[in-house]
Every structure is written in structure tokens, then in C-alpha cells.
Subunit: 284 residues, 4 copies
């Protein structure tokens, strides 16, 4: 795998944006591997993800940001620059349910996720054997309503030692406060077991059963202070019938949860997601 | 197509129900074509749909109900008896959007719906040419907030002349009052252009766009007094991305609406739907 | 709707392609509305679709091709230039089945297809009433094995009078010869009622039933001389069970056929499809 | 979970079958939990799965078969009797790919599969650490073309010691001979990484990429002597585009393979599958 640079850009739309950005790359001998752009014509916002091969690029990797800054300023860009050879660090939060954790770790072990996992944080000890089998440090914080503020501070202190780039809530089942979220804005990925915005909050399969829906779903999203209302990254669904009990929905929903969460993690790791107006542009 | 009888049954669950019902059929030389049953173990309710060939059946078609009544009473059954050679009458309500109406009529003309369509009721004249092309009487009622009560009465009077078995709201876009609904309980089928319970009410595609969902859907349901909250018959979804404008969602959603509505009509015509607790059992 | 230009390009991949093309547009004050590109890294082929607003464009619409030619030659491009205000002409071929024709015409009438339909060609008279209802000339050619060569010549002669841009086979059910196809290369769209390459040829639902598959599908593709083996444009599927008879598969498959064919027509009309190596790039 | 009896029946269709079977159950105080039946009207074959609670059943569990035999003989039934409290034994065969094995074992550990796994057989040592983590004996047989006959005999000898009820090929990637299969007829479940009957044999994702399909799939089936041609149990698909490389298809297909294989195992464990004419009836 050759090293490549990835630029994520958003800015007011105007003529000449793609030409200016791709000219910057071409002038310095970069070969574009992937280019996606989108214009929100209602809001007049331009979005772009461009990835180019650094093999022949004439600007040093460490100098690219400096060279790109004048262009970015000219067009009032909000931008991120990433390199494909930089492994992100991903912390995982879990509770008692094993399926999402197993799935994440099996993918990670097989090389599907080019990331490091410095630690797993849990509010129960149940999943420690799984963390042990994969040789990942496992920390237990018995968080509850009464100790939430100080326990989150302790979690943040531990995280500060490990410096994760983002956090994955693999059925963590705890509401995270705004105090915590503001340390990882648009960097906490949750999986909710319904097709949001239907069935926000607790026990969505019970809600789905009570309402008699014919389809259940799962939604991965970035966590914001509004419960289950953050920018949606990915969703998927499966059909159910009157024959499916709540237990059947829980069992079948697990397959959705695993897949939908892992896709969000994959897109995040590949810097394919742009967030704006509480929505996402996902360049797949 | 041989004529067949269809029994739809619900009652408290207990041992011997299936044996008693199928013995009634077998004793009189009926050959079962389809049998589906379901038990809601939480509510302890038994549901059954059984269809049998009448060719050799030793009870006259007109006497079956009388002969079945003692059994029904013994088990406290709620039951319906239908015959496959009875064509139902279906009234259609429309507004300005053509796609659902065209789809229903094309299916009807091809023989997919074994039903008669005595009339189409609209609140705008736009779709009259379509009704004319299919030779179906088309009545316009310029209903609005101020004249709703008396206009619904006029609609009911017209319907009373035609005696439809059920009503299909093919994107009718008007809220129907409880006064009207009580004349056709569990016999008015609506198509709502979202995966309920998400995006109840007006402009669901606009709501979906604003929320940034990655999946849009459509839901057919029986109409009750609670807006978009009646028993769900069928749902389906399709994926969308950030590239889909509201207009794209509207265009793509039409395919869902057509299909999901027509499936509900098909199941209703085949007496495959049982309603209880604001949910449906659909024996497909 | 403002008028826009659409360039479809394929050429050997090299650095600077996107920059050169978008610079051509930006230099002449074109604002890019959509841009998609793809590189087949195995074959080293670059593909691009770019659409830009002509409102401020400083080159006359009629001169754009001339101005673009030097750039195209420099990069050895194969290219097409289209304008969004040019309505394509679409001929439709049918046999006896109405559903695909009805669906195409209802979409066309509602404005979903910005195209003209100069004629419908059939090998049976059954669907003439539908063509009449939509005021489209309907021609019958009683084609069979023995008269195929001369009948196709007669069809071509009639088509030559109407100059359609492309042909849609809406369940035409006749094999078209290479003699005919060569007049409309990559411009004849067929719908096959299976998920190709499974169940090529006649009676695919019967084949699917016999094999006991749990999913049936439909495939739209450009017609080539190899039966059901042309470049696939779009596919979709639906689940079936042991309960689905062949008649059920036929009925349920119609919904797939309609949708999958209409999507292909829509993409073709919007110049979203590039064909190479018997495959398609569809920029959705 | 109360203990229940499950009868799987197939026989020539005739009047009175359901009544006779359910009367047998009701007469002995069995309460039916689930009942599904199906008639193949083309072949005139009746299929049934009925499950009833044994709590009040007046025949001893060990005597049920004896009591049922006269009825079975009267109607020329092929039948199986199972009990929900009997845990099946499942052997797993693997090669080098971990995803399907991980998924099976995680489901098993979570209690989703009520089965025992006496052993895992592999043709490579790669996955031994996974077996070790789950404390399951792992045996390596370096099978190849030249030693296939004697190696299969050795495998059979090992299996004979463990007496598995069925075998799951979790991406085993070896062709099994008829000599082997005849020891486990309709009891070897394979996962093939295509929507069969498309792309039989080796490297189906490469075949799918070359054909340019827009949908890829996976199929679980019982193994027969004809390669990838056995009775299909379950299939599922996912959409792909021109952007998906073969590596992307392999990665994304793994999610299908895991899910489709696990569903087949689940149905098999619950005795929901009847095989006839190289097809399955799956009572879900």
C-alpha cells in the first residue's frame, strides 16, 4: 500500500474550486486516487474528499499543510489533512453485550480496521475475558447516575493517557454527558438499535414490537448532547413479521448492529465522513 | 380457479383449537389449501387463517357459517368467513399525485386484484383523465377545513350507494375524521410516505432530508383516528445518500409507495390480515 | 431548470486529468454542479462525468465541442458532450405484458423522464389500447423465426424515420439479432427477469422455482449479441420462500422489473452511464 | 424454557392430514406452540412442522414415536421427531479465513446456538488460536488432491468418535467427495460466497467483478455431490458499484457469509428445514 494524502474540505460553493484544488495536486505531481465532491445547493456549501498518491509528490508530507493553507484561506475552507499511513487509535466502550465487541475485534484482528486499540472501557466486568483473548487492556468503571460526573472525569483522565483519536460505543448503554462529549466532538460513534428517528431511547425493540412495525433497524451516529439525535452515519434494516417475538428482534437486530457499527468505524477510519448541520456527507 | 372458503379466527389460546377447526373441515370433506396460525404468547391470543377447497365440501356454501357457529361459540372465537369467488368492491380516494392511482389501476386491469372499483373520489380534478381511460366513475369533492364535516357526509352518502367493501387512500393527502372512519373500521388503507413511526404528518421526505437519514421508507396501514398511527400492514425502504435532494427522495419514494400500497391491497383482498391491539397479523 | 453541459470521459489514467478538465470549465466561468470520477486501477482507465451550469459559461454552447477537442486529444479521451435541455427520443418495444409499459408511460407522463416517445413497436396488438390512451403511435410487426431478418429491416426503416436516440425493450421477449443491434450500439436497454448471470434465457422464474432459490431478481442491461450477457446497468432482488409459486414469482417479479428498468432509463437519460469491457460505470 | 416436541412431516397430500395430526396432539393434552404447513401443489406433497409443549402431554417422551407410528404409516409419512431439550452436536470445518468461525463461536458462546461443538477440523493451522480461546479441540488434516481419499477416511474416523449431528463448513474451501457426504446426508451445511446459481466454483467475487454485477450475495446450502448445487437454505445480497474492487467485494461479502451461514445453522438447530427435490422448505 503506497502512502496517500487525504483532504476533506468544506467551504462556500463558488466556481473554480475543484480546478484550484486539483491544480494544487497536479502541479506538485500528485496522482489522484479518489475524488468525490458534493454541493448542498440549498445551503450553498461545497464538500470534497480527494486522495492522492504521495509517491511522486514534490512537497514533503510534513510541509503539505503549510503549502495548502493559502489556497484554503482564499476559499474560506474548513479542512482536514490525513495520511493513509497514520494508524488511528480507537477506544471502545462496552457494557455486558458481547456481539458488537466481538465483531469489532475480529475485524480488527483480520486487518479490516487499520487502527490501534489502546483500551476498552466497561461499566461491568462481563466482557473482560474477550478483551484478554485479544490482549487489550480492559478497565472497569462502575458508573451510575450518582457518580456519573466524577466517573466520567476518571474515564477522561485515563483516556488522556492513551490519546485515542475516537471512541466507539459498542452497546455501552450509558448516556454520555455534554461535559464528556466536548472532549471528543464528532469523534464518538454510537450504535442505536433502531432506525432513527424512530424509537429513540431505551428498549427500542420493545417499542418496535409494541408498535407492530414490519421492519426493524439499527443506526450508527456521532454522539451529541441530544440523545440519539446526532449526525447519522449509517443505517440498515431487516424485515420482521408478527412471528418475531421481542427476543427474536433482539437476536436478529444484533446482526444489524454489528454491521452498521462496523461500517461507521470503517468510514471514520478512512476519513470518508464530513459533518455539517447535524447531518453527514459520507463519501463511499 | 376452484372456489375456496377462508376462515379468519382469533380467540383465547388453549389446547385443541387447531384440531377442532381442522376436524370440522375434514369431517365435511374439505381439503386444506393453506393454513397459518400464530399465538401471541404475551397476550395468550390464538390467530388462524385456513383456506380450503369447496369442490367436495359437504356443507352448502350458504350454510357453512351456521354450521361453524357452535364451534366458534365454544372457543369464544372472533371470526370472519370469506369465499374466494366473491369479488370485493374497492373505492379509491386520490388527490393530485398520479403514481399510486396508475399503479393500482394497471394491476387491477391486469387481473392482479380480483376486485371491482365502483368509483374514485378526489378533491381535485387533475386525475380525472386517468379514471376516464380506465372507465371508472370519478367524483370530485372540494373538501377543505371549513366544509369537512358536510363534505364527508356527502362522500359517505355517495359511498352508501356503491357499497364498497373497503377504501384505498392513494395519496389522498386529507385527514379523515373519526366520524367518517367509524363507517369503515379497519377497512380504510392509507399509504404514508415514511417508515412509520418516523416522520408522522406532513412532508415526511422534507423531515427525512432535514434529519439526514440514510434510508427512506413507506408504510401502508389501516386508518384510525390517531394520525399515521393505525395498524401497520406493510413497510419497505430504500437507501439514500447525501446526494439525494428532497426531489430525489420524492421521486424514489414513489416506487416504495406504489409497491407498499399495492401489497396491502393484495393482502386485504385475500383476507390475509388480522388486526388486534393496533397491530396486524399478516399471513403471507 | 438552467441549462447545463455534461461531459462523459474515459481515457488512460495519468496525473493532472481532473485539473486539466476542471480548469477548462473554470477558465470559461462554468460552475460545476456535479463531478464524479473513477479509476479502474487494474486497467488503468480514468472515467469522469462532470456537469456544469451554462448560465455564465463564456463559450457558446455550439462551440464547446470545438474548444474541448484539443484537450481531449492531448489526453486521448473518448468523450461525449450532452446538454440537459436536449430531450432524447426513446422508442419502446413491447409484446403482450403491460406492466413495464404502463410504468414507463406513467413516469413519462408525470415528467420523471425528460424524453419524447415517438413510437411503440410491438409484435402483438394487445397493448395498443395503452399506447392510444397516451397518444403514442403503435406499430405491430408480427415477427417470428422465419421472417426475422426482413422484419427487423422493416423495423429499422421505420425507426430511421423517427430517429430515436435509444430503444427500451419493455418485456419484448424477442431475441434481437446482431444486424439490428449494430445500429444502436449501447443504446438498447433490456429488462431480464432474473439476477443475471443466473437464469439466462427463457422462463427465468420457472428456472428459479426449480432451483429453489430464496431470492429472485431483475436485471437491466444494454443488449449485445450474446443473449442476456450485455453490460449490466442495474439489478434488484426480493426474497421468496417455498410458499411462492411460479405465479407468485411472476407477480412479485413484475415490481422488480418495472423499477429496475425505469432506473436504467433514468440513468441513460441523464447520461450517467459509461460502458467499457462489457461492464458499466454508473455515476449515481 | 419448557421442553417441547417437534414433528417434521412430509407425505402425499390428502384431506384430513392436519386434522389427524393435530388430533393426535390434542387428544394427549399437547398444546401447540407453532404449526406450519405447506403443500407443493405441483408435486402434491404435504409438508408440516408442528411443535407442542410437553408439560401436560400424556404420552411419555420416549413413547411418542411408538404412538405416532400407526398414524404415520396410515398416511405414508416421512417424519422426524425431535425434542427441544436435546442439544445437537455440530462439527465445524475451516481453512484459513477467520470471520465465519469467529461469528459462529461468538453466537454459540452467547447462547444463540443451543448446541455443543465437540471439535473443529482444519486443513491449515492458522485458526487454532481461535479454537483455543473458545476451548474447542482443533484437529489439522493437511488434505490435498493426492491424499483426499485417505484423509477423508481419517476425518470420518475422528468424527465417528465425536458423533456430531451435523457439520458446518465455515469457508472450508475444499471439495468434499460423495464418499464423505453419504455419511452425513443433508447434514453438511456449506456457505458459498455468491448468490447461487450464479458464480459456482472458485473465486466467485472475481467472477462477479468480471461480470460487472451490481449485487453480490452469499448462499448457504446442504452439500451434495454436485458442486454448489445442493438444496439452498438461505441467501442474502448487498449492492455493489463500479467503485468496489475485488478486495472490497471480499470484505463486504464476509458480512453476508457470516449472516447467511449463521441463519442456516440456526434453522437447522431448530429443525425448521425439510429437504425434497433438491430444494428446501424452511418454516421460519
Amino acid at each position: 500500500m503506497p502512502n496517500s494524502a487525504i483532504l476533506l474540505i468544506s467551504c462556500p460553493d463558488r466556481s473554480g474550486l475543484v480546478a484550484a484544488i486539483t491544480d494544487f495536486i497536479a502541479t506538485h505531481q500528485g496522482n489522484i486516487l479518489h475524488l468525490d465532491q458534493h454541493v448542498d445547493t440549498l445551503e450553498n456549501i461545497f464538500f470534497m474528499r480527494v486522495e492522492w498518491d504521495l509517491a511522486q509528490f514534490t512537497i514533503l508530507q510534513s510541509d503539505i499543510a503549510t503549502h495548502f493553507t493559502p489556497l484554503a484561506e482564499k476559499f474560506s475552507m474548513t479542512w482536514q489533512l490525513h495520511f493513509s499511513d497514520t494508524r488511528l487509535k480507537m477506544a471502545i466502550f462496552v457494557s455486558k453485550e458481547a456481539h458488537a465487541l466481538y465483531d469489532l475485534l475480529a475485524r480488527w484482528q483480520s486487518g479490516e480496521f487499520a487502527a490501534d486499540i489502546p483500551l476498552i472501557i466497561a461499566n461491568h466486568p462481563d466482557l473482560k475475558p474477550i478483551a484478554d483473548a485479544f490482549n487489550i487492556p480492559f478497565y472497569i468503571f462502575a458508573i451510575n447516575k450518582d457518580n456519573k460526573a466524577e466517573t466520567e472525569q476518571a474515564q477522561l483522565a485515563l483516556l488522556a493517557q492513551h490519546q485515542p483519536d475516537f471512541i466507539v460505543l459498542a452497546r455501552y448503554m450509558q448516556i454520555i454527558t455534554g461535559e464528556f462529549i466536548c472532549h471528543y466532538p464528532q469523534r464518538i460513534i454510537n450504535i442505536h438499535h433502531s432506525f432513527l428517528p424512530a424509537f429513540i431511547g431505551a428498549k427500542p425493540y420493545h417499542q418496535a414490537f409494541a408498535r407492530g412495525v414490519k421492519i426493524i433497524g439499527a443506526t450508527s451516529h456521532y454522539v451529541t448532547e441530544d440523545l440519539d439525535a446526532g449526525p447519522i452515519i449509517e443505517q440498515d434494516v431487516t424485515r420482521v413479521t408478527h412471528k418475531d417475538s421481542i427476543a427474536d428482534m433482539v437476536r436478529r437486530g444484533k446482526d444489524l448492529e454489528k454491521t452498521v457499527l462496523s461500517r461507521a468505524v470503517y468510514y471514520h477510519l478512512q476519513h470518508r465522513i464530513l459533518v455539517y448541520n447535524n447531518k453527514t456527507v459520507v463519501f463511499i
